[in-house]
């Protein structure tokens, strides 16, 4: 069951994954304390147990307080969710999603530059 594709994380699961990504491996108590709105301790615990079953996280049980880690790096999950959204709502066109995303809020000059760079390399590719 550790093989195969991981399910799309739910909202509560995503909140926990964010903590794990931001701070690295953590115990339930630490995650619970970081999440101000994550519900009670046992709620977080239960969710993390389910996430373990699903393979979304792994845990080290060698200590009394089990230490959990995200199984996939943040980028993989972002990729999964983006692909998902593109397929479900943007007719399979990542560019449409990108356009929609950018036309919303303001973006820093640094990010704009980064995007331009990516755009350049993509255009270069398509020329080849």
């Amino acid at each position: 069951m550790s093989r195969g594709k991981l399910p799309r994380p739910t909202d509560a699961e995503l909140a926990i994954l964010r903590v794990l990504w931001d701070r690295g491996a953590r115990t339930v108590r630490e995650v619970h304390e970081t999440l101000q709105d994550g519900g009670g301790y046992t709620t977080v615990l239960k969710t993390m147990q389910i996430m373990t079953e699903k393979g979304l996280v792994t845990r080290d049980e060698s200590q009394r307080a089990h230490v959990y880690s995200a199984r996939l790096p943040r980028e993989s999950t972002q990729q999964q969710l983006v692909t998902d959204l593109v397929d479900r709502v943007f007719g399979g066109s990542p560019a449409r999603l990108a356009l929609q995303a950018l036309s919303t809020k303001k973006t820093s000059p640094e990010e704009l530059a980064e995007l331009r760079q990516l755009l350049d390399s993509l255009e270069k590719e398509s020329e080849s």
Copy 2:
């Protein structure tokens, strides 16, 4: 209940909305026939009734076969979902999402040009 923010559509609801956006106002039967994998007729009907309660769609009951329309245009819902994803997984940065989206699949030269144009106008704005 028609006021206030609409809930994020579920996957099944999104499939139905796509039909309504693509083809315009439709009866349950028409939606059901368009969706090859949408389950039985009553499944689609039930879902659309729930969507009506939620305000995701409106219906015209003047005919025997009620005619349903998406309440919000496609773009609004795309916007909602993009904002949602940006907040939940991209730390509030639309540009990060855009980068992730573009680095995945290939994008047509036309779309690249469109993106470049948007980028230009965004940079012009930030200069002002």
